[in-house]
């Protein structure tokens, strides 16, 4: 089966004044048809750069971004348009994606007009259908964005994103700006849309707890590299990379006990971009498991650590064993 989306050893570097940010340093990932993949990492990890390359909004410096096995950038205009219709996006700020002077109905129908789908009447009917599908009253088509709440606007963005029956949705922090109860509604809406349309999704977030509710497989990025990937439940229960473990420990749940304090204090506030060793593993300054070899030797490549699982850490073995022994106790 051809993946819906494939990134092969993608590199992207941004040059600023006196500062170079290597946002993507050899990222490879795949989303298969109908698969929901979560891309997790903190600010500066490069996850949004990956999203923008997947959408063809940014060209990689090297490596390939393939939609259905074809390159988006460099395809003929006609072919590019066809491929773009298959990959749609939902972003963090619900208001930014909509034209504030146009009605909701106009915005939802925009992709239909661009791709010449149906007559005007058919487009209007489709807008009503889409609004219903995302839990909104079809009468909302007449409203302006300013007359709606953040949660309603994010529903509109989802309606717009699924208007062309895409095969893949790329969602960059789509629920991060929302209140808890609204966030929960939108998470459930994504689950519903995914189930009903069998659509593939690349869901990007800094919040592992949000991602866990939605995805089959998680890819964790740190400082421009994929450091771990694996099936959601296994990865959350038993992380194989110390960074994933730190992320899990930092997740605050209202009824969680104080477990994980040791991991938390062992990390320090160094953003991924600054103070990173040149050769060695970039997580060393924050890693409780680091040993001298981790900063002296080149960073290790992503390597299998179990069924469907991989980690890019010299010391993964310690975590794999720790996980195996705890699951034996269960």
């Amino acid at each position: 089966m051809t993946p819906l989306l494939e990134l092969r050893d993608v590199h992207k570097t941004f040059q600023g004044r006196g500062r170079t940010v290597r946002a993507s340093r050899g990222v490879s990932l795949k989303v298969m048809p109908g698969e929901v993949v979560g891309l997790v990492g903190e600010s500066g990890s490069g996850k949004s750069t990956v999203a923008n390359m997947a959408l063809g909004l940014l060209a990689p410096d090297s490596g390939e971004v393939l939609v259905h096995g074809e390159r988006l950038i460099g395809a003929s205009r006609k072919r590019e348009k066809e491929l773009r219709a298959r990959v749609q996006a939902v972003f963090q700020e619900p208001l930014l994606a909509l034209d504030s002077r146009r009605t909701i109905g106009w915005s939802i129908a925009e992709p239909l007009r661009i791709h010449g789908r149906g007559t005007r009447a058919e487009q209007e009917a489709r807008v009503a259908e889409l609004l219903t599908a995302v839990g909104l009253d079809p009468a909302f088509a007449e409203r302006l964005p300013s007359q709606m709440s953040g949660g309603q606007l994010q529903r509109v963005n989802i309606a717009r994103a699924i208007a062309l029956d895409p095969e893949l949705l790329v969602c960059d922090e789509p629920v991060s700006a929302l209140d808890v109860s609204v966030q929960a509604q939108i998470i459930n809406l994504f689950l519903e849309v995914q189930e009903r349309l069998g659509i593939g999704m690349l869901f990007i977030s800094h919040d592992l707890a949000v991602v866990r509710h939605l995805v089959d497989r998680i890819v964790v990025m740190y400082a421009g590299r994929v450091v771990e990937e694996g099936p959601t439940d296994e990865l959350c229960a038993n992380p194989h990379h110390p960074y994933t473990r730190a992320l899990l420990a930092a997740s605050l749940e209202p009824d969680a006990d104080e477990a994980g304090v040791g991991v938390r204090t062992a990390t320090t506030d160094a953003t991924a971009a600054e103070g990173v060793p040149q050769e060695g593993c970039p997580f060393v300054p924050r890693c409780p498991l680091a040993e001298p070899a981790c900063s002296e030797m080149p960073v290790v490549a992503l390597a299998p650590t179990g069924p469907g699982r991989a980690s890019a850490c010299r010391r993964s073995g310690v975590l794999v064993e720790a996980g195996a022994s705890t699951s034996n106790h269960d």
């Binding site: 903190e42 209140d179 509710h213 899990l248 930092a250 997740s251 009824d255 204090t265 320090t268 506030d269």
Partner: protein, 318 residues
């Protein structure tokens, strides 16, 4: 020990607003205690903090039976006294670390400006010690940097250092970690906890995040549409919530364990009601009485709850 902050029957109304943003809110922050105001956008939690610190526009109508800090009336306090207080006993930290800094001036200059009295060299000495305490490496050099050289987490730490150097007795923190990554948030919260113990600092924490509230407060007020829905010891409110809203809020939190589908009972967000219980439009238990009669706070179990129906039948199965 006496209370550091006392708020009695606070009501805040923005000009032309259909209903008050905050209505009849009362609470006290005891010495060394930590009280959290929790709620969603529009719940009135930030407005409460702004009213208490007198940071609202004068056109906003603020009334209360009492708002006092260590026995001094905050609402009738003069500008000068208020400013002195903000540079002294009453420290504040807000959500967006970038918005709190002037991008065109160095960290050091901005922090030194806030310090009065002593010689510059001595003030600087005190700041450097603080900065080291909050985890800034090589503070002598880094303090000469501009805000854009700092990460969000570091800016928030530096801000905290700048506030704590005044040795406040009360810290008002409005979503202090909401703009930060989870790992950075966890570290900053641990640091605030440590500093609170060391300095005997009281805190009024404003947050939408019950996970943060669970870690950082002893007492919590759950606000909905400007009113207190429920309040009590944090551990009791989170373990045995009596108000349907508190339960719905807890159920809606994404979690690392348990079912995939968020077990969601909250309906669609209703227009805020002007009569009856403000939550009646969203509440799955609401009766006719709820829609007409505003519930008064009552003690139920270990919490004080404004709900006609408390205790709810399945109080533990939130």
């Amino acid at each position: 020990m006496s209370d550091v902050l006392t708020v009695r029957n606070l009501t805040v109304r923005y000009p032309n607003a259909p209903r008050p943003s905050v209505q009849g809110v009362s609470f006290t922050v005891p010495a060394r205690g930590s009280v959290a105001l929790v709620g969603e956008s529009g719940s009135g939690k930030s407005t409460t903090a702004l009213a208490v610190t007198r940071l609202l526009d004068p056109a906003v109508e603020v009334t209360a039976d009492e708002v006092s800090f260590e026995g001094r009336d905050l609402l009738r306090m003069g500008k000068k006294e208020l400013r002195a207080l903000r540079r002294g006993g009453l420290g504040m930290v807000f959500q967006d670390p970038r918005a709190s800094w002037n991008p065109a001036r160095t960290i050091e200059r901005q922090l030194l400006d806030g310090l009065r009295g002593a010689e510059r060299a001595e003030r600087r000495e005190r700041l450097v010690a603080r900065m080291r305490r909050i985890g800034l490496d090589d503070p002598e050099r880094r303090m000469r940097d501009y805000p854009h050289h700092f990460s969000g987490g570091m800016l928030q730490r530096a801000l905290l250092a700048g506030v704590l150097v005044h040795e406040p007795r009360l810290l008002i923190a409005d979503e202090p970690t909401s703009a930060l990554d989870t790992t950075v948030q966890a570290e900053l919260l641990a640091l605030i906890g440590q500093l609170r113990t060391e300095q005997g600092l009281s805190m009024l924490l404003i947050s939408h995040d019950l996970g943060v509230v669970a870690r950082m407060s002893d007492h919590v007020l759950v606000l909905y549409a400007g009113r207190i829905a429920e309040q009590g010891p944090t551990s009791t409110v989170l373990a045995q919530p009596q108000h349907p809203y508190t339960r719905d809020l807890l159920a809606a939190i994404p979690r690392l364990h348990g079912p995939r589908k968020v077990p969601l009972q909250v309906g669609r967000v209703a227009e805020a009601r002007t009569e009856g219980c403000p939550y009646a439009g969203r509440c799955r238990f609401a009766t006719d009485r709820c829609r007409t009669e505003t519930p008064a706070p009552r003690r139920v179990g270990g919490t004080e709850v404004a709900c006609h129906l408390a205790p709810l039948p399945d109080a533990k199965a939130a």
